[in-house]
């Protein structure tokens, strides 16, 4: 097994995972997005936006009524809704999936043979689970994604900075936790090493989540049920993407591994004769 073995399979697995994620996103993600856009367009004259005037004292960020002016989801947008929900969505999930597949494959290539006695497929599975948790689930729990009509265009810079900060802390803590788990597993045993590493990671991200200020921009009157639907849809999309990626990559690496084992057995048998 070489870096190439992993990378080629990871890119293919990621590409396929991106297509699967597109399918899931189209089916479960588009309905709440469309519902939110309908609210955004209906609400620009009443319930949603104009709160900024009355609440200016309590919410200093929401002062620009024209914040959404340069950004339109209707038919007059530069890219039509039909294109956004099909080709645009597919482009995003496939690029994201392929990039993730390549990186997960190379991270797995380093991890295989170095995580206790875990076999290659299991190692890939562990790396995918760590990746999903660190790169998506934990940032998601701190700063859950919002559908259109939620969030002021003015604060996109600050919100992105916060999200990326949480993400970087989570990913760095996860890398350190995996390395620490290896050392502790050698010193004591696997269960203690893994348990302590998970606990350590948990403490770090909980402290970070406590210190980072919240984002509170859901307009009054925005349906809570729709928000929940959108956020669980986002979780479903990412779960579908990571699961597909992990299954295909682990499966194909397992095939390479068993082939190599059979080859090795045959050679040993030949030598014994």
């Amino acid at each position: 097994m070489t870096a190439r073995t992993f990378l080629v399979r990871g890119l293919i697995a990621g590409f396929i995972a991106g297509i699967v994620a597109f399918g899931v996103a189209y089916l479960v993600g588009e309905p709440p997005i469309n519902a939110a856009i309908a609210i955004e367009e209906a609400g620009s004259s009443d319930a949603v936006e104009p709160h900024s005037h009355d609440d200016a004292a309590t919410d200093p960020a929401a002062t620009d009524p024209a914040a959404e002016a340069g950004h339109s989801h209707g038919e007059e947008a530069e890219v039509s809704r039909d294109t956004q929900s099909t080709w645009g969505l597919a482009t995003a999930t496939i690029i994201f999936g392929t990039a993730l597949g390549g990186v997960l494959a190379l991270v797995s290539a380093i991890a295989v043979g170095r995580l206790g006695r875990l076999r290659p497929a299991a190692t890939v599975g562990v790396m995918a689970a760590v990746g999903f948790t660190a790169f998506y689930l934990v940032p998601f729990l701190k700063y859950p994604p919002n559908p259109p009509a939620v969030g002021s265009g003015d604060t996109i810079g600050a919100r992105t900075a916060k999200y990326v900060t949480m993400l970087v802390i989570s990913v760095v803590a996860a890398i350190v936790a995996v390395l620490a788990a290896r050392i502790m597993a050698r010193k004591w045993n696997g269960a203690i090493g893994v348990g302590a590493a998970i606990a350590g990671y948990g403490v770090v991200v909980l402290v970070a989540a406590k210190l980072l200020s919240p984002i509170d921009e859901v307009p009054a009157g925005f349906p809570a049920e729709l928000l929940w639907q959108f956020r669980t849809a986002s979780l479903t999309v990412q779960l579908a993407l990571w699961t597909t990626l992990a299954l295909i990559l682990a499966g194909s690496i397992h095939a390479v591994y068993t082939k190599a084992l059979a080859e090795q057995d045959r050679r040993e048998l030949a030598r014994a004769l």
């Binding site: 993600g29 959404e68 890219v79 969505l89 999930t93 690029i95 392929t98 170095r114 999200y163 849809a233």
Partner: protein, 75 residues
Amino acid sequence: MSQAVAGQTLSGTPQLTVPAVPVREIMPWLVFFAVLGMIAVYFVSAEQGATSLFAGTNIHEWVHDGRHLLGFPCH
């Protein structure tokens, strides 16, 4: 870190050996693809949102739904 074989032998039972790829060999690939992956993810997640390398909103509009659903802050 560079042992070629990890995890053999448990009390005589023929334990499967798991070959490890040398870190030296993977590192350049990992660094290169991590950078490439970050650029790709940047365009999906943040271009023409928090920051803009290119003027206009076409990239933002094109990946709009994916950006929302993949969990990134969007407008």
